[in-house]
């Protein structure tokens, strides 16, 4: 028997917005994992995934995005919702970062997103400073977060990873500062 997992109830949908609409989707239930430790390059090699060349850079392999958060820290994302296959054998010093349990995953998309995010984070989101494929580790509405710039064309699409225990707080903060993001359909 395997128990069903339950992620925080945000009331936000996870389906893609219609063109021209801006909003936030909750992708917390989507597969992802974190990796830490000196063995992370070996883990990627064993899993057939690329290891990003630079910290705060991203490497892609099909529908898998590998974001490098530190020298030996990775966030691996599944964009198609399929599970991420781990190497058959444990890799020494490649530790689970529990990112599927510690971080919620919100995705902001649409033409109004850049302005809306500026109400919550001081990080420079202009194209030159935050091109597609860039990871930004910063503060967002008072929380430590990771922002992954997924796409800029035609509109900005940003994945936000933040403390999963603070989902209720962040929803409140968004409703205070950029309520328009919560009403997109």
């Amino acid at each position: 028997m395997t128990a069903s997992r339950l992620f925080p109830s945000t009331g936000l949908g996870s389906t893609v917005f219609a063109a021209g609409r801006s909003g936030v989707r909750d992708l917390t239930a989507r597969p992802r994992l974190g990796l830490r430790g000196r063995g992370t390059p070996n883990w990627c090699a064993a899993a057939g995934l690329p290891f990003p060349a630079e910290i705060n850079g991203i490497a892609r392999a099909g529908s898998i995005r590998v974001a490098r958060l530190g020298t030996y820290e990775l966030l691996v994302l599944s964009d198609d919702g399929l599970p991420i296959a781990a190497p058959a054998e444990p890799v020494p010093e490649a530790f689970d970062g529990y990112r599927d349990e510690t971080w919620a995953w919100f995705r902001f998309e649409g033409p109004a997103v850049a302005n809306a995010l500026a109400t919550m984070t001081a990080v420079d989101l202009r194209p030159a400073a935050a091109p597609a494929g860039r990871v930004l580790q910063t503060r967002f509405a008072g929380l430590d977060v990771v922002l992954v710039i997924d796409r800029r064309d035609p509109d900005l699409a940003v994945d936000l990873f933040f403390d999963i225990a603070s989902v209720d707080y962040l929803l409140g903060a968004i409703s205070d500062r950029a309520p328009e993001l919560l009403t997109a359909a």
Binding site: E101, T102, D163, I164, Y169
Partner: protein
């Protein structure tokens, strides 16, 4: 009917005469136009007195019409201290004067103006101490609080809403006058991302009200559009902070701007001429007259005099002539050096020039009626109701000074100069010392090019232009004080020349001291118009140069800012556990525990005190007699993994962990370098290289930071991660706890033999991956189940169902605190303070004696050699005797305090009051007693008991 207070079009570029707006001033109905400010509308309606002065309650009218003075502060509805010359007129608003007994026109407190001789500078400091010790608080402070101050705060206002937005740009240009517009245009054309801002509602600065060809302004605006400059109007840059962080206020929004380069084109601050009664309504700066006419079409007077100290004043005189305002005199001071062409223009216009004139006095009670001037030894009095004063200006130096620029003083022109600003800040326009329009625009182009070049853009810097008019711009000296006074240096604080002179005579020679003694520059306009005059007086009185005096330290904010803007949209951070929804649905009273919400009890959020007590007692009984469970997800959790994990935590904690067997759980005690206890928890060795460690809810972030810091120094092969949110924790506790688990699908043997006290196991329970530790805080048989957060609701529900036959119920934090107290356990932070040692807590057993090192060990040994001065004891009292003993109640010995109570509660299990307290070490022995002073002041004798009130032999937790 013709509007006699307004000039015909094209005067009044900002107003829409087709849209009339009604409003009231001090209850009197008035009308203005859309596009008016409150001040221009009031003036347009003939209301010149807008406020009363701070100390003498003298009538005051607009001075600069640029939001730079305190004269226009009014109350609008519930909002105090509104700058009437900045605030747009709204339909139906109720405007009232501030700091007055009745109204702007009638203020009985103006009697104070006749008592000025009894209120000399510094009289506050000399008067309000007496006659008795309590006079200040009982007598003077209430009087001053009632009579001083500005507007009235409405404490019943509903919450306001304020926005806070971040904005990053390559170049921020502060000031959208001709220099700022040029800078923005050039920088943007070179490829920079440029934001241009101005406090005015439109771009243009002096081009909008000065005597300039309209095509210049149109061309400049077109240039901005073509270059793609982002323009923010009605926006005030209120300070400069390190790394070009600049707060900008715009309406209800606080913009937090981060710019790579900053161009300051903030313009200049008009200076007031000092003469007797220079504060009368009707005396305004020359540029204010131009703003009134060109922006709002206000006819500023029926007969005017102009002091043309620089070309600005001369231009204002020509404007007045063109507007049809009769000019009684245009005063050209002896020191003025107006360009010959301009002088010729004045003469050609037939204006009544008075060359070499000095102003001696203004006359009038509520409004200017006449000026007394001296010209070449001749004194004459000229009737007028408007005096436009152009006594020069100082650069608007605040932002550069915030950034570390140095202020100098040009003795020839008597104008402050700026230098030494950071490389990323560029000055342009009058703030940079340029005055002629061509030179101003060119200085902006140079600044914009420099900013773009610093960003790496290829741009050629244009050559500077000679500023032929520069010598014509200057300021004027402050005369010695008028014998009858009322020659104001600082309008905000009603300070006259003699006040500054007397401050120096009283021994305050340095400007910072003069400021504090006299309060000069401490009013709403923050010395914009008083700093130079004060510096001149202090220089003269101390026989120094103005450059040696300077101005007082300039700090943000540049202008007034509403506290709501600083507070912004504020929402306290909080965290919730995976079972939060269940707790609330089950009727829990939730309380904040640090940043988390936790259930206090399940009696219901609105339950009575008696019902709560009964419910908490029932929750305690449930644990003691059957089984209960507590959501302990908020416990801090750390993953310490890697080949050196055991050696690492062996250094961090006091007990021995290096050889801790896999599958065992060990208590952890953490000290600081002082040997004081800072945290505790347990370490579960999951594998040789994998420890799962708990920490207290409030301290886990600190512990994690400390561990990470030490690991960076020690360079051990260990990975440390704070996984508090990743795992939920459920403490299943009570004599029937094992039965509950036995009933669940699992792959872990939970029998007493296979799963002993302080064992740890991993596996699955009810399909949930778990880490289980046989530990507890209650003294009962306990299993602490930790599961990944997303599984926690399922595990919680499965436990409830499996435990139903055993009477399993959830209990809250209050019951948990009682259960732990019955068992005599301490809570770090509640029963410890910054000096608590393991010895004081009776926890020497937790100190690894054979270990060569752990954090705090050297201090522990040194402090142990000093002996104990206090000790944490367990005490008990009968219920009645202990009813008023509370946390922090004093422990007395021979009448002297020797300690205090740290925890106390009524024990439902024992039927007694039990608690922990620091006492004299000799008294901490079973059978002895300590003396407590309860909340009523009554001293109570409490019995000291052994280390636990309940099950001291630890039989129940180890079954």
């Amino acid at each position: 009917m013709a509007d006699l207070t307004r000039l015909p079009a094209p005067w009044g570029a900002r107003i829409d005469r087709t849209k009339t707006l009604s409003f009231s001033f001090d209850g009197k109905p008035m009308r203005g136009y859309a596009g008016d400010t409150v001040a221009s509308a009031a003036l347009g309606a003939g209301q010149w007195i807008l406020s009363r002065s701070f100390k003498y309650h003298r009538p005051r009218g607009p001075l600069t019409m640029a939001g730079q003075d305190a004269n226009t502060l009014v109350q609008i509805g519930s909002e105090p201290n509104v700058r009437a010359d900045r605030r747009a007129l709204g339909a139906g608003i109720a405007v009232s004067a501030q700091n007055t007994s009745h109204s702007a026109d009638r203020d009985t407190n103006s009697i104070l103006d006749r008592l000025g001789r009894f209120l000399p500078v510094g009289f506050y400091y000399r008067t309000f101490f007496g006659p008795n010790d309590g006079s200040w608080l009982k007598t003077w402070e209430p009087i001053i609080r009632k009579s001083a101050g500005l507007g009235v705060v409405d404490t019943k206002l509903p919450e306001g809403h304020y926005d806070r937005r971040n904005l990053a740009c390559d170049v921020l240009v502060v000031g959208a006058g001709p220099a700022g517009m040029a800078a923005a245009r050039v920088a943007a054309a070179a490829g920079a991302d440029v934001v241009l801002l101005d406090a005015e509602p439109e771009t243009g600065g002096a081009l909008t009200y000065g005597r300039y060809d309209a095509t210049i302004l149109a061309g400049a605006r077109q240039g901005l559009d073509a270059a793609g400059v982002r323009v923010m109007t009605g926006a005030t840059c209120n300070g400069w902070y390190t790394d070009n962080f600049l707060p900008v206020l715009q309406g209800e929004t606080l913009w937090r701007v981060r710019a790579d380069q900053v161009v300051v084109a903030s313009g200049q601050q008009d200076q007031m001429l000092v003469f007797r009664n220079n504060d009368l309504p009707g005396i305004v700066t020359a540029s204010a007259v131009q703003r009134l006419m060109r922006h709002y079409a206000v006819r500023p007077g029926r007969q005017a005099c102009v002091f043309a100290g620089t070309p600005v004043g001369a231009a204002a005189a020509l404007d007045l002539k063109e507007a049809g305002v009769p000019l009684a005199a245009v005063l050209i001071p002896a020191d003025a050096s107006l360009p010959a062409a301009l002088m010729a223009q004045l003469e050609a216009a037939g204006l009544p020039l008075r060359k070499g004139a000095a102003v001696l006095e203004a006359k009038g009670r509520r409004h200017l009626t006449a000026l007394t001037i001296a010209t070449a030894g001749r004194v004459e009095t000229i009737a007028c109701d408007l005096f436009a004063v152009d006594a020069g200006a100082t650069p608007c130096y605040q932002l550069p000074l915030h950034a570390g620029a140095k202020l100098g003083f040009d003795e020839a022109t008597r104008i402050f100069t700026l230098s030494g600003q950071p490389d990323t800040m560029h000055l342009a326009g009058t703030v940079a010392g340029a005055h002629g329009l061509a030179a101003v625009i060119r200085s902006g182009e140079i600044a914009g090019a420099a900013a773009a070049k610093a960003l790496g853009h290829a741009v050629a810097a244009p050559a500077p232009l000679a500023d032929d008019e520069a010598g014509a711009f200057r300021t004027y000296p402050v005369p010695t004080g008028h014998a009858s006074g009322r020659d104001f240096v600082d309008f905000d604080e009603d300070l006259q020349v003699k006040d500054i002179v007397n401050a120096v005579k009283d021994g305050y020679r340095e400007l910072e001291l003069v400021k504090r003694y006299s309060t000069v520059g401490m009013g709403p306009s923050q010395g914009r118009h008083s700093a130079l005059a004060t510096a001149q007086i202090v220089a003269r009185e101390t026989a120094r140069q103005v450059a040696q005096i300077g101005v007082t330290t300039s700090r943000p904010p540049f202008g007034p800012e509403r506290l709501g803007l600083l507070a912004g949209p504020h929402r306290s951070q909080h965290r919730t556990t995976a079972m939060d929804g269940w707790h609330r649905a089950a009727g829990a009273k939730m309380i904040p525990a640090g940043i988390w919400w936790r259930p206090l009890h399940y009696a219901g959020p609105e339950a009575s005190t008696a019902a709560i007590a009964a419910k908490v007692a029932a929750e305690v009984r449930s644990v003691r007699e059957a089984v209960g469970m507590l959501d302990v997800s908020t416990l801090g959790k750390l993953a310490v993994r890697g080949p050196d994990a055991a050696a690492f935590i062996d250094r961090i904690y006091t007990m021995a962990h290096a050889k801790q067997p896999v599958g065992r759980v060990r208590y952890c005690l953490m000290l600081n370098d002082m040997g004081s206890v800072i945290d505790d928890g347990v370490a579960f060795r999951i594998a040789e290289d994998d420890f799962y460690i708990t920490a207290t809810t409030g301290a886990v972030d600190r512990v994690f930071t400390e561990m990470s810091f030490l690991n960076a120094q020690w360079r051990m092969r260990v990975d440390i991660q704070n996984i508090t949110a990743a795992f939920a924790g459920i403490n299943l506790t009570g004599p029937l706890a094992r039965r509950v688990l036995e009933r669940m699908e699992r792959d872990i043997d939970v029998s007493a033999e296979a799963f002993r006290y302080l064992d740890g196991r991993t596996g699955t329970v009810a399909g949930c991956p778990v880490r289980i530790m046989r530990i507890g805080f209650t003294g009962e048989l306990s299993y602490e189940l930790h599961t990944p957060r997303s599984y926690a609701p399922a595990l919680w529900q499965a436990l409830l169902e499996a435990g139903r036959p055993e009477g399993l119920s959830a209990y809250g934090l209050e019951a948990s605190r009682i259960l732990r107290l019955e068992k005599g356990h301490i809570i770090i932070g509640q029963d410890t303070d910054a000096l608590s040692t393991a010895g004081e807590l009776g926890m020497d057993w937790a100190l690894g004696k054979k270990k060569p090192y752990y954090i705090g060990k050297p201090a522990v040994e040194k402090r142990a050699a000093l002996g104990l001065t206090r000790s944490l004891c367990r005490f008990e009292l009968d219920v009645e005797a202990g009813a008023q003993v509370g946390d922090s109640s004093l422990v007395l010995r021979d009448g002297q305090p020797v300690g205090f109570v740290t925890s106390v509660a009524a024990s439902p299990t024992l039927g007694r009051i039990i608690g922990l307290a620091y006492c004299h070490p000799e008294d901490n022995a079973p059978g002895r007693s300590i003396r407590l002073r309860d909340r009523t002041g009554t001293e109570r004798e409490a019995r000291v008991v052994a280390h636990a009130f309940y099950d001291p032999e630890n039989r129940r937790q180890e079954i």
